[in-house]
């Protein structure tokens, strides 16, 4: 395949050309309640070409029929020529790489019959259903894929990769009369069949919690010290801050650039944030991004100060900074754009444990897990899976409908205590941007304390 792609490259008349080809085998199994909703196997394949003529914009072509490869290389070149751009697009230098990176398949999912996958999921689903007769509905999804990936560009980079992925998710719905509560388990790994065995405990826990939430009161809306668990803290830093550090947001927008000036204080000295596409064995981890740039650990906030951002080759050149290996595409259907990989709030050495964070909190909220979150620029809204009140330095009763809403800048600045208990949250789902969803990413954080945040269990109840 590499030879075929290299030959096609050689015929391109553009100043710069790159080709990606992917072939993906995937299976998916879904249970709803006791019913198997579907069990399917799919094969998806296609290619992507991007070309740049001197003085031209990007010419882009994607296709499912590989017979069209040569024609699409030519087409991408024509498209680039058709869109004059001034000043011209420049790409930051990246030394050419040649690599054959076969990631650990950890029990190749392609070797397992789909009946085995159904059996595994049925067992986890059964664990949720078996928790209580209050569990009236479940949704359990198993999905796996192995993607074979080829990348070449006209500057000499030649890559071949085999990328596995497996995700498991479970939703347990508990109901009593008109009250409905849910629990959500989600596991996502860049690994294979072996890694999703023995996962019943998590499914049991979320179903049990859904039942407990039936009796839990709604959190009383107001302003509290809030401790985020590592899962919610990770989602928060990804959604509320991470997207602003993607350079395509700022590189050609002077006002945005000003807002995100390096050196600006974003938080107290305890705050350290980064994005690490080279971290070992995580879902957002890959040796190279989709422009052939090696991934790396990029510091974004150091001791509370903005020190870096995430780049593609184009944004790095435009801003006179170095590429960070963050140009990613969800598939051959899309161009690479600036994306996060594994984004984290670093644990504070000496930051102590969860107990240390709540010790001096008289009345606060411990917000755990994430049902969802949305940010609109500097405003965000996150729904925690559940919460617990903190009273006199101790964890007290379970509460529900914990919604955190606020302004990013104010909230980051109010993070006053960060634990040492860092962990990566290996969840499924993914990140969405510019129509590209779901992109595999991971988030990580320790317990994080916000000295004051608005909790809206009753947001809007005037």
């Amino acid at each position: 395949m590499i030879d075929r792609l290299t030959a096609a490259l050689a015929r391109s008349r553009a100043a710069y050309t790159e080709i990606r080809v992917e072939r993906t085998w995937s299976t998916a199994v879904t249970f709803r309640g006791r019913r198997l909703e579907s069990a399917t196997a799919s094969e998806d394949q296609g290619g992507f070409v991007r070309a740049l003529h001197a003085g031209g914009g990007w010419g882009v072509a994607s296709f499912t029929s590989l017979d069209r490869l040569e024609a699409m290389v030519a087409r991408a070149g024509e498209l680039s020529r058709a869109v004059p751009v001034d000043p011209p697009i420049r790409l930051a230098d990246v030394p050419p790489h040649q690599a054959d990176a076969l990631l650990d398949l950890d029990g190749d999912v392609r070797g397992q019959p789909i009946a085995e996958k159904k059996r595994l999921l049925e067992a986890y689903n059964g664990v949720m259903l078996g928790v209580s007769d209050r569990i009236v509905d479940t949704l359990a999804v198993y999905r796996d894929e192995v993607s074979e990936y080829w990348y070449v560009n006209s500057q000499g980079t030649r890559l071949h990769e085999l990328r596995p992925e497996v995700t498991l998710s479970g939703t347990a719905v508990a109901r009593r009369d008109g009250t409905i509560e849910k629990g959500l388990e989600s596991i996502g790994l860049r690994r294979g069949w072996n890694s999703v065995q023995d996962k019943a405990a998590g499914f049991r826990e979320v179903a049990e919690r859904a039942v407990q939430l039936l009796d839990a009161p709604m959190v009383k809306g107001g302003t509290y010290p809030v401790i985020l668990d590592p899962e919610l803290a990770g989602v928060f830093i990804h959604e509320a801050f991470g997207h602003l550090s993607e350079a395509d947001f700022v590189y050609e927008n002077p006002q945005a650039r000003e807002m995100m000036t390096l050196g600006r204080r974003f938080g107290k000295p305890v705050l350290n944030v980064g994005d690490n596409g080279a971290a070992s064995g995580l879902r957002g981890t890959l040796p190279f991004d989709d422009e052939g740039t090696p991934t790396q650990d990029t510091a974004l906030i150091e001791d509370g100060i903005l020190v870096g951002r995430l780049h593609s080759r184009e944004t790095a050149a435009a801003m006179g900074e170095r590429p960070t290996g963050n140009a990613r595409a969800i598939s051959f259907r899309h161009p690479p754009i600036v994306r996060m990989t594994n984004t984290y709030i670093a644990g504070a050495p000496g930051g102590g444990s969860f107990e240390d964070l709540i010790g001096d909190v008289k009345l606060g909220v411990y917000a755990c897990g994430a049902f969802g979150g949305q940010t609109m620029l500097e405003n965000f809204s996150f729904t925690a899976a559940y919460g617990r009140m903190i009273r006199d330095g101790r964890v007290a009763e379970l509460v529900k409908d914990v919604v955190l809403a606020g302004n990013l800048f104010q909230t980051l600045d109010r993070i006053d205590h960060i634990g040492a208990d860092f962990r990566w949250n290996q969840m499924g789902g993914g990140c969405g941007k510019a129509g590209q969803y779901p992109l595999p990413v991971t988030e990580g954080a320790p317990h994080v304390r916000i000295e004051e945040a608005l909790v809206g269990g009753e947001v809007g109840k005037a």
Partner: protein
């Protein structure tokens, strides 16, 4: 042809088969932060096959179909995967619909427009440039994207039903960004249709963005209390989503639809009607038959506030022991699901020209603001779709909203949240605006509700 694939499948699957083949070509032009940045093309084709064997149903999809057809070398592995899926699949009395008897032609709906299909890259760039020129203003940055799609769809089943059609789609979207200090403001709008946008449609898009931007430059304090709130056609999503979810046969089967036992009952304001209309000319979601060979028809879901029916595809219909309403939607991968086509919100007294992008020239608030002493105009909410949507309760911070004082818009409100229950609010509507328009595949005017909870943050 997809018919040949289905025929091949029929010989192996004792309960029959159906399939869909779809091909599309898309051309895109993107202007990023005020300048032309890229042009792209996409060619994609794929097939989805469903079989019923020994009473069980299985599905498989592939993009490995070769050129304009599903070649024999691709058909065989696809069929094997569908049969393997059926081995695990659930037992289901799925019946593939036969051809209409007596033989009848499919309903006519115009889905293909030569002007859209033949528009050149230069034409697309021209539309973008003119839009950009009319949207640029001091201190703001503009993104514009133009997209044109040409599709071909073929469906067939083992009972002898079949259909094919071509379609075009055209999308123009623009967003204007203004960042002042830490205040980030984005105002956007989009045109979506099967034909090229008319000059009037583009002018309306520009007017819509400019009007909302002008009013947003000034930030004012949020009001608080149980207030009259007007939701624009775009802002209406939080109130529409619970209703459309509850009207899906899938929600009924899951036992989570609050409308389950309400057919024939007055649940909504008597002026409120909702229709799913796949036969609306010039819309991207329109088609003569659905993805499971069921002929399209216009479907009244709510009439005069009374619930009429739910939407079904073949599978949910079989499980609910009813008939498909022609709402089967399938992609290349996965199995068909019930889905809406064009959702039309109509109300008594409406003068609708549902074919055009806008029914009337833009007037923010649709004429509903006049007698509001203090209230809110909501154009976008944050987090719609999160949480327990089907129950109808919602609580969202505003993304883009304006304060109304003594009948006029006085500025943008930033730190506010609105909350309520969609079912409670739809029982008694404060008023329907005269500004109905398409937002994606939904046709709706602005709608006013009284006593919506507004909180300050």
């Amino acid at each position: 042809m997809i018919a040949r694939l289905v025929d091949l499948a029929r010989r192996r699957a004792d309960g029959g088969a159906d399939g869909l083949w779809r091909r599309f070509e898309r051309t895109t032009v993107a202007f990023e932060w005020g300048r032309l940045k890229s042009a792209g093309t996409t060619e994609e084709a794929g097939a989805n096959l469903r079989v019923r064997h020994r009473g069980r149903v299985g599905v498989a999809g592939t993009t490995a179909v070769g050129g304009d057809d599903v070649g024999a070398q691709h058909a065989a592995p696809l069929l094997e995967r569908a049969l393997a899926s059926a081995e695990l699949g659930e037992a289901l009395d799925l019946e593939f619909p036969g051809p209409p008897s007596p033989p009848a032609t499919l309903p006519t709906v115009t889905t293909f427009f030569d002007r859209a299909a033949n528009a050149s890259l230069v034409d697309l760039i021209g539309i973008g440039r003119s839009l950009l020129a009319r949207l640029e203003r001091e201190g703001c940055r503009v993104n514009v994207a133009i997209e044109r799609e040409v599709t071909a769809t073929r469906v067939a089943n083992s009972a002898g039903a079949a259909g094919e059609y071509r379609g075009t789609g055209f999308g123009v979207s623009a967003d204007v960004w203004r960042i002042a200090g830490d205040d980030v403001l984005v105002v956007s709008d989009a045109f979506e249709g099967a034909d090229l946008p008319s000059n009037e449609a583009l002018a309306a898009l520009i007017a819509s963005i400019n009007a909302r931007l002008d009013h947003a430059l000034r930030v004012v304090a949020a009001p608080e209390g149980a207030l009259p709130v007007v939701f624009t056609p775009a802002g209406l999503s939080a109130l529409m989503l619970p209703v459309t979810q509850a009207l899906s046969g899938k929600a009924v089967l899951q036992g989570i639809s609050p409308l389950e036992a309400k057919v024939g009952e007055q649940v909504f304001d008597p002026r409120f009607s909702l229709t799913d209309d796949p036969l609306r000319g010039g819309r991207i979601a329109s088609r003569p038959l659905d993805d499971e060979c069921v002929p399209s028809r216009t479907l009244a879901l709510v009439e005069g506030g009374v619930v009429q029916r739910f939407i079904y595809d073949l599978e949910t219909a079989a499980r609910a022991k009813t008939r498909s309403t022609g709402n089967g939607q399938r992609g290349i991968f996965g199995k068909p699901v019930p889905g809406y086509t064009n959702i039309v919100l109509n109300h008594v007294g409406a003068v609708n020209d549902v074919g055009a992008q806008h029914a009337a020239p833009l007037q923010l608030g649709g004429g509903l603001l006049g007698d509001i002493r203090d209230g809110l105009l909501v154009d976008e909410l944050i987090g719609v779709g999160q949480g327990n949507v089907t129950g109808g309760a919602f609580s969202h911070p505003v993304g883009l909203a304006y304060r109304i004082e003594r009948g006029v818009i006085t500025g943008r409100v930033k730190d506010a949240a609105v909350a309520g229950n969609a079912y409670e609010l739809w029982k008694q509507v404060g008023g329907f605006g005269d500004d109905a328009r398409w937002t994606g595949s939904r046709w709706a005017p602005s709608v006013r509700f009284e006593g919506v909870s507004v909180a300050r943050r």
